[in-house]
């Protein structure tokens, strides 16, 4: 699977620049195209412009947080089917449950192993079996 070109588009939504850079670096190694959004508002705007194949969504963000993005996506027939993986910290169980109820495919807990993160993304996209 290394170096495999997937040419799938993944969007990372996180207010932390370094985390976006981390996700981007690792996904790009595996040939994904990565777009970045700094918060929920920008994420919604970008999603409507170019529908990504998958969204990595931070839950705890200023402004519009991850849960609100999930709610908005669930209500939008065009965005409803985009798979979402939540980025959470431990101790956000309540949010996690809410996210799953709103249709999130899975979650990654910070701090995470970058390779594990890549595998989770691939599994969610059906590129590999879990």
């Amino acid at each position: 699977m290394n170096g495999e070109k997937n040419a799938k588009q993944v969007m990372i939504v996180d207010d932390e620049a370094s985390l976006r850079a981390l996700v981007r670096a690792n996904l790009e190694i595996d040939g994904f195209e990565v777009s970045e959004a700094v918060d929920g508002i920008e994420a919604m705007k970008m999603m409507r412009e170019s529908k990504p194949d998958l969204v990595l969504l931070d839950i705890m963000m200023p402004g519009k947080d991850g849960i609100e993005v999930l709610e908005e996506m669930a209500a939008d027939s065009e965005l409803r089917n985009i798979p979402i993986i939540m980025l959470t910290a431990k101790g956000e169980q309540e949010d996690l449950q809410k996210g799953v109820d709103l249709g999130a495919r899975g979650h990654i807990t910070k701090p995470f192993d970058p390779e594990q993160m890549v595998r989770t993304v691939k599994a969610a996209l059906g590129i590999i079996r879990r």
Partner: protein
């Protein structure tokens, strides 16, 4: 007593008047008698019309004295011992017995009889009949007076006893009232709300603190069933006795009560947390009601909430740089990737940057615990302003590419008296904040100026600013410039709190101005280092 004395006096006057109009056997000059009677009548009239009750009891002694002298003079001018009025001696004796002690009465009687008997005995000679006559008079007088005195003494003593009992009763009454007032005063002055319900769950007592805490007055609460009390229906508040009502707690014999916490509403609808303890009131073994003591613990609850919020925030804040540090390190270790020198360097830069952020955060958390424990150590020395500012700006500017930094420090600025590390920490906090709260970039300027023995620092940005309602709170612990509930900009809410404490402990002050949407200006000032404080390091110009 005074009244009866007055009656005695009137009685005396009447007897004298009757005596005057009784037929007299001997021929005598009645003019002085008439004068006496007229004088007696006149003084009686005055005394009758005068509001004598308002005067002192001494007045009655004077009256009695007047009465006595009337009678004595009457007897004297009408023939002394042989006068038909001589029997009125008894009246004088009785008065004396009434007003004075037995000894006083004896003295008065002997004096009166002596003064009347002497001329009589002198004129008539000291024959056995006359002596016997005088002695018999004296004897009768003493017996009559003695009896009256005995009676009066007994009556007086009984009155005195009654008086004492009355006094004791009054004292007891005062004590009881005082005790009741004291209890009421204690109940109304305790800071805790106190209320009592009877066996029918009706509120029978509601103290002043309870009124203050809940906003419900005594008039509104007393008589209501506690299950309905304090429950503004539209607010869905809890009745004040909730756990007791819900669980039907029965107090075990010997139980000292139960305690519970309760979220309910004040009269105005504000939610409050109450800590309530309820205990049975036992009256000879039977439960007569329940006394509840409660206090407003909303503040503690809020601090509690802020603390757990703080723990959540700090752990989130610690996790974020840690995620990047570990993530980039692991990325570098990925066996399946070959990184260019450029990417490798950018990853390492991220690791360093996030590591520094972690260090800053840990420094803040440590500062807080030191500030709260009062164990903050400061090493105050003269510090050069410009290099410190430059270093901070250099550190922060490496974190962002969208901000422009401007340093404005005069060449000839004096040294500032500060702990170099702490000054660095404060400046770093302010400049990082300026960057953090201007997400769209813009200029961040750091300047310093000297005036009135202080160096004043200013960190200004062109960011989102601080709303008017938040501005007074930004230096408070755990405060973050975002409305509660909504997750705000990243941060622990410690930076400004720590900064304020550090600056104040270094003998300075810190304040902020802001125009929402146009940016914030954070100022702080610290004393200029004096030449003698500078010691080996004389005041010097700082190269820019």
């Amino acid at each position: 007593m005074a009244k009866s004395a007055a009656w005695l006096y009137w009685l005396g006057i009447i007897v004298v008047l009757i005596g005057v109009f009784l037929p007299v056997e001997q021929e005598m000059n009645l003019t002085p008698v008439m004068l006496l009677v007229a004088g007696g009548l006149l003084s009686s009239l005055v005394l009758m019309l005068a509001p004598w009750q308002r005067f002192s009891y001494k007045l009655f002694y004077i009256m009695a004295g007047l009465g006595c002298s009337h009678i004595a003079t009457l007897i004297f001018v009408t023939g002394g011992m042989e006068s038909p009025y001589s029997q009125l001696y008894f009246l004088i004796a009785i008065w004396a017995a009434y007003f004075f002690s037995f000894r006083g009465f004896g003295l008065v009687s002997v004096m009166v009889i002596g003064s009347l008997a002497m001329p009589f005995l002198y004129e008539r000679g000291y024959g056995q009949f006359h002596i016997t006559h005088v002695l018999t008079q004296i004897l009768f007088m003493l017996i009559a007076g003695g009896l009256v005195n005995l009676l009066v003494t007994q009556v007086k003593e009984r009155n005195l006893d009654l008086g004492r009992t009355n006094e004791r009763l009054a004292q007891k009454m005062r004590e009881v009232l005082h005790e009741k007032e004291k209890t009421a005063a204690v109940l109304s002055s305790v800071a805790d709300g106190v209320y009592v319900v009877d066996n029918n769950d009706k509120i029978v007592l509601w103290n002043q603190a309870a009124e203050l805490i809940t906003g419900f007055t005594k008039e509104e609460m007393v008589g209501r069933v506690c299950r309905d009390a304090m429950k503004p229906a539209e607010e869905g508040g809890n009745p004040i006795c909730t756990p007791l009502c819900d669980t039907m707690v029965e107090f075990e014999p010997g139980s000292s009560g139960v305690g519970y916490e309760l979220l309910t509403c004040r009269k105005n609808g504000d939610r409050i947390w109450l800590s309530v303890s309820a205990a049975p009131i036992r009256d000879s073994g039977e439960t007569a009601g329940i006394v509840h003591v409660f206090r407003d613990i909303s503040e503690y609850k809020e601090i509690d909430r802020m603390k757990s919020d703080f723990v959540a925030t700090v752990s989130h804040e610690l996790r974020t740089p840690l995620t990047s540090i570990l993530g980039f390190a692991k990325t570098l270790l990925r066996a399946d990737a070959n990184f260019s020198e450029e990417s490798r360097e950018s990853f390492l830069t991220e690791i360093v940057r996030e590591g520094e952020r972690l260090a800053r955060l840990i420094e803040d958390v440590l500062s807080v615990s030191r500030i709260e424990a009062g164990s903050l150590r400061l090493d105050l020395r003269p510090v050069a302003v410009e290099p410190t500012v430059r270093e901070v700006v250099r550190n922060v500017s490496s974190l962002t590419s969208i901000h422009r930094f401007e340093i404005n420090v005069p060449d000839d600025i004096s040294l500032v008296m500060a702990d170099s590390d702490k000054l660095h920490q404060v400046l770093l906090n302010l400049v990082v904040n300026a960057v953090k709260y201007s997400p769209d970039g813009g200029e961040v300027s750091v300047s310093a100026a000297e005036s009135e023995g202080y160096i004043r620092f200013l960190v200004a940005d062109q960011g989102v600013g601080i709303s008017e309602e938040n501005l007074p709170h930004i230096f408070e612990r755990f405060f973050r410039a975002s409305p509660g509930g909504k997750r705000g900009a990243a941060g622990t809410g410690l930076g400004l709190y720590v900064s304020r404490n550090l600056i104040e402990q270094m003998g300075g002050e810190i304040w902020a101005e802001s125009q929402p949407g146009a940016g914030s200006r954070f100022y702080f000032r610290l004393p200029v280092a004096q030449a003698d404080q500078a010691g080996a390091e004389p005041r010097k110009k700082v190269a820019s």
